[in-house]
Symmetry: C2
Subunit: 296 residues, 2 copies
DNA sequence: GCAAGTCTGTGAACAGGTGCACAAAGATGT
DNA sequence: ACATCTTTGTGCACCTGTTCACAGACTTGC
């Protein structure tokens, strides 16, 4: 159906360009006997003469000239392709796919915006989905993951920062129920997670230390949890970096070690070395300082 | 500068198309180990990863997708090229270059016109030049030659027809000088060739049998010779097929064997088998019957 | 959850292609 | 007209790249 040996076309192309087998052989860096054999094989395969042989060299026939023009285009496109691929490693363009926890979006998105301002040719796709996106299938370039250190062999994992949380309630709630320091756990109303076996360490702590009966409100996102706390529904976890509209809230217990969650920056081994991923990862780790969170 | 191994791009193309090394190997008709080595070599040469390897196969990276689109175009163009080259052998299109003696143009051109009417896609270039065009350099597809049988090894030569000539003069001339049958050669006025050593057999005969003093008019073309005869300048050769405006001329001597010139149809070995050349040559030999000339 | 199937990956035997040396033929320059 | 140079063409030794066989890892169906 389609051609079997593209190299032979390349050889024939150089012969047509140079006009001689010897010249083509020198350009191609092979012996002239090889060139002759390539041409013979190609002609045999096509069932048509591509060149007229004479003592001064090879002159292309009609078919040979046709091949010349086609192969010239191909050569052009391949050189351009090679240039693009080689060059692409050094520039930050194209698409960057980042998968992250939705909870971190308020933190992450402004930083990504700043990154895009520095690299105008970059298109970004931020995926915050329940399901785990697999870097090895090329579904994402960079993943921001929480929890235990992933042990995927092809992934290069580096610590991003440590997310510490504050257990808070509204001033209104404290007026009615007091803080945890003053009262019993059983007398309080907690905001928990929908999942029975949550992976977040603070919810693990909650499951372990708070009876289910005291959990009056269960949510799926940190955003909902924060809103619930602000509404005075109960005691809930709020990220330490989330200072927006938390002035009216009070900490009902000093932070515990058990609540802190390590956040990891994960890239695929193959993509980690590329400039696009590298600069993005470095930029993100720089931003951490401005976020006012604990470094990992 | 440009790519060294086009076959590797072809391999990578199939891998990108199929998604797996094994699938590509089957399509390419090689072992899958070969495919892996090609990809590895190509990636090493480009300095960039083209695919992400995982247990379900190879998924192309950004660079791999770029290669996919480029190589798809290439594959298309190569298949089209092969189709054109293979098909070209069966059809009579493109350009047909014929080199001939200018003297035969009045005979040849109408026939070529008829041939072109049968093959509308054919463009023809008729070269009637002093210098000999060399078929082995692809300068012409078909050559019409006179004289001795050429012995070029790569040329396939076949007899076309035998050009016989008539030695004629105007009625007016005969009234003044008589014919050759009635008078001496020395008393006549001949029309000869400019060249000292003419290749045409009838001029060779003229040189041998007519003293230079009797040659009063020398020309470079048969057309000029005919005009000279018609003007009553002297005795000259006119092709036997040339009946146009020769009614007022009289033959001053019956045709001799020495005057006849064999006309050859010459093609290059490589091109002789092609349908374009074949049909043209056959058509020409058919036309000979209508020309009213002696078959060779 | 286990087994079958599919995929990638790698070291060793093998073979097809490559390079080499030499020959022949035509072109070129003196 | 001769010698020199360039070019194509070919048989043989060698080496690169291919095939083969096997292993390992993951996916998938039962």
């Amino acid at each position: 159906m389609s051609f079997d040996h593209w190299d032979e076309i390349r050889t024939a192309y150089q012969v047509a360009r140079m006009g001689t087998v010897s010249g083509a052989a020198e350009v191609l860096g092979v012996h002239h006997a090889t060139v002759i054999r390539h041409i013979d094989a190609l002609e045999g395969r096509l069932g048509a003469k591509l060149f007229q042989r004479h003592a001064r060299g090879y002159t292309p026939t009609e078919a040979g000239q046709d091949l010349l023009t086609v192969a010239a285009q191909t050569d052009d496109q391949f050189t351009q392709l090679a240039g693009r691929i080689k060059g692409r490693g050094d520039e930050v363009t194209g698409e960057l796919i980042v998968t992250s926890l939705d909870a971190l979006s308020p933190l992450l998105v402004p930083s990504i915006g700043e990154f895009m301002r520095r690299h105008p040719d970059l298109r970004v796709r931020l995926i915050t989905d329940q399901r785990l996106f697999r870097l090895e299938y090329g579904e994402a370039h960079v993943a921001i993951r929480a929890g235990k250190l992933p042990d995927q062999p092809d992934n290069v994992v580096q610590p991003f920062f440590t997310q510490t949380l504050r257990l808070m309630a509204s001033r209104d709630y404290v007026d009615r129920f007091g803080t945890l320091e003053t009262g019993n756990v059983e007398d309080h109303r907690f905001i928990g997670a929908n999942e029975d076996t949550p992976r977040a360490p603070y919810f693990v702590w909650l499951n372990a230390n708070v009876p289910p009966a005291s959990v009056y409100f269960r949510v799926s996102s940190m955003k909902a949890a924060k809103a619930a706390v602000q509404a005075g529904i109960g005691i809930g976890f709020i990220s330490d970096w989330d200072r927006d509209g938390t002035d009216d809230l009070v900490e009902v217990l000093p932070p515990l070690e058990d609540w802190s969650a390590k956040i990891w920056l994960v890239t695929h081994m193959d993509l980690h070395r590329t400039a696009k991923v590298q600069t993005f990862v470095r930029f993100l780790k720089d931003q951490v300082k401005d976020w006012g969170v604990a470094l990992a």
